[in-house]
Amino acid sequence: MSELANKVLLIGYGNPGRCDDGLGPALAEAVEKLNIPGMTVDANYQLSVEDAEAVANHQVVIFADADSSGPEPFSFRAIEPRAYLSFSSHSLDPAAVLALAGDLFGARPEGYLFGIRGYEFDELREALTEKARANMERAVEFLQSLLAEGSFRKMATDFNGKIPLHDKEEI
């Protein structure tokens, strides 16, 4: 693992009681099991204002969320701080968390968003669909390669959420 791994925060968010909406926390759980030295992993139902403080204390922050319509198996892109006009505390946007980290704590960490493709969100069930779980496992592999190379910005620039990552060779 690169030295960068010691400065990375991963926050997976979503509701595990809503099928694939739990992809973010599921990714966080899977990464936590890897016991990557120095890497901070957190999971919650949604992002909130206090996440700004944790974000401000890291150089790289990866937000992991379920994506209902994005590319398969996932997208990975850089995000910039942006203040939304009407966000609620319920669903604070990752870009807004970055903006708060800057405004409140003077921090400008690199921010990235994992959008892991999910398929079922409406049903009340605490389990990922098979396809979503497979996408999540691919995302974990991708994250490990990122940490090994420490090239977050290049990876995100190459793909920027537009090009689906079909297999590891493309990475």
């Binding site: 509701n15 009681g17 204002v49 206090e50 609620s88 319920h90 708060l100 009340l124």
Partner: protein, 480 residues
């Protein structure tokens, strides 16, 4: 599109900076007078069915999936109900105090979040301020110290929840008949280090709410306000108690409608009306009926209903607050914020009191007694009284669940608040930013959690439509 006689409908959809989805429909006549206000929510029911067939001991964990905003409230209410199932409602001192610490931590962080990051923009910049500024980012830029305080208070409460309940996403602290861990001295000392700072910030936040209400009382006295009944739990000696007590209801003049009611008998006193246009039910006091039996819950009702607060600084503030009602309950809707800040301070005082209690390091965590087939658990969640009711069969499976969440209790009052505000700020011909802003402010006073009330999660832009009696779209405005 719906029309009713010569009425036209204005839909405000959904409402921003409240928790979850919201949509407001205003029915106006041809002269532009508001005849009816209806607050709609997008329904996704089914949670009661979701838990059926599951073993009862899983329920305190499962119900946290109801809502990402206040999972701890559902966790504890379900645990209280399951205490009854296992005959373990007389908790050990360690178990009860650990749960209380969890609950006060939850209330502290929830009230702090709501005030600093949802309400303070309205109070600091004014209701009419540009929404581009009137938000938490605006507060962060102009009042950075205040915004940081809000973040740190929220974090403090969340850390207490983590220490008492476990993981944010999967709290397991409360179990039927008790808890699964105590608080170590090391954990306690971390919280003790910052509690005085939390209390000082709470006092300062309370002052902002109090000063704002006092300085703008002439306008706020009528803003979305009306006389109402008030419902809450009250401790057996009349004290404010957010975790446990008996049900008390007062009318708008302060006369008790009922008192000292064992909450397991709530169905004898409270019923829910179904209205065809709304997915969210309308609870009412049975003895008064649907027309006059509706009531408010939450901080305003709790401060109005209790006889005293058992922590000194909050009690002093309660006495000052009650002067607003001149001997009667306070019915000013915007006074919710002041009442909420009294509870914020009370929660900080209770946390400090608990942290100094050696029972938190006790080893006796669980009790069990005679098994029952039915259990009701109530507590005062940050937004108001929360009801959990379950029946369990001999195979330990849940066969019935009934939940009444805080926001559902406030359904009728929120509708009335919107109508009052719309009557004042709608000219019937144009959807203005002013109307939008004021409707939002009125609803936000209740701190509604619509995702919880409707069992759904989601995001919300803001859209308003003005439609005439023929169904033609006259005006439409959206806010992302």
């Amino acid at each position: 599109m719906a029309t009713k006689g010569n009425l036209k409908r204005i839909a405000i959809e959904p409402v921003t900076r409240i928790e979850g989805h919201g949509k407001v429909t205003l029915m106006v006549d041809e002269e532009g007078h508001v005849k009816q206000a209806r607050m709609h929510v997008v329904e996704f029911r089914g949670f009661e069915r979701f838990v059926q067939g599951r073993p009862y001991w899983e329920i305190p964990v499962l119900v946290q999936r109801l809502c990402g905003i206040c999972p701890v409230s559902h966790h504890l209410a379900a645990a209280k109900a399951m205490d009854r199932i296992v005959g373990g409602e007389n908790l050990t001192p360690t178990a009860e105090k650990m749960r209380r610490l969890m609950h006060y931590g939850q209330t502290f962080q929830s009230h702090a979040l709501h005030f600093f990051h949802l309400v303070s923009p309205d109070l600091l910049f004014g209701f009419d301020a540009d929404p581009a500024i009137r938000n938490v980012i605006g507060v962060a830029k102009k009042f950075p110290d205040l915004a940081v305080q809000g973040v740190m208070m929220r974090k403090y409460g969340q850390e207490i929840i983590k220490a008492t309940a476990g993981k944010k996403i999967h709290g397991t602290g409360a179990i039927p008949g008790g808890i699964n861990k105590n608080l170590s001295k090391e954990e306690r000392d971390v919280f003790l280090k910052d509690i005085d700072q939390m209390m000082n910030w709470s006092v300062a936040a309370l002052k902002i709410a109090k000063d704002y209400t006092s300085e703008h009382l002439e306008k706020l006295a009528s803003f979305g306000s009306f006389p109402s009944n008030h419902l809450s739990l009250v401790r057996s000696d009349g004290a404010l108690d957010l975790y446990h007590g008996n049900l008390r209801a007062k009318d708008a003049n302060g006369k008790k409608i009922f008192d000292k009611v064992d909450y397991s008998k709530y169905l004898d006193y409270i019923a829910e009306e179904v209205r065809p246009w709304s997915y969210m039910k309308f609870p009412f006091i049975k003895s008064l009926g649907t027309e006059t039996g509706w009531y408010r819950v939450g901080p305003l009702a709790r401060i109005n209903n209790c006889d005293f607060i058992d922590t000194p600084i909050a009690e002093k503030e309660r006495k000052e607050f009650m002067k607003l009602g001149n001997g009667k309950p306070v019915n000013v809707t915007m006074a919710y914020h002041w009442a909420r800040m009294i509870e914020l301070l009370h929660s900080a005082e209770k946390i400090k009191e608990l942290l100094h209690d050696k029972d938190l390091q006790g080893e006796n965590l669980v009790v069990k007694g005679k098994r029952r087939s039915e259990g009701v658990g109530l507590l005062e969640a940050p937004r108001g009284t929360l009801f959990h009711h379950y029946k369990v069969n001999d195979d330990d499976q849940v066969v019935m669940a009934n939940l009444i969440v805080s926001t559902t209790h406030n359904n009728e009052p929120m509708n009335r608040a919107v109508q009052k505000v719309a009557e004042e700020y709608l000219d019937g011909k144009e959807i203005t930013e002013g109307l939008l802003n004021h409707v939002e402010v009125a609803i936000r006073a209740y701190d509604p959690c619509l995702s919880c009330a409707t069992h759904s999660l989601g995001r919300m832009p803001l859209t308003i439509e003005l439609i005439d009696t023929e169904g033609n779209l006259l005006d439409r405005k959206s806010r992302d």
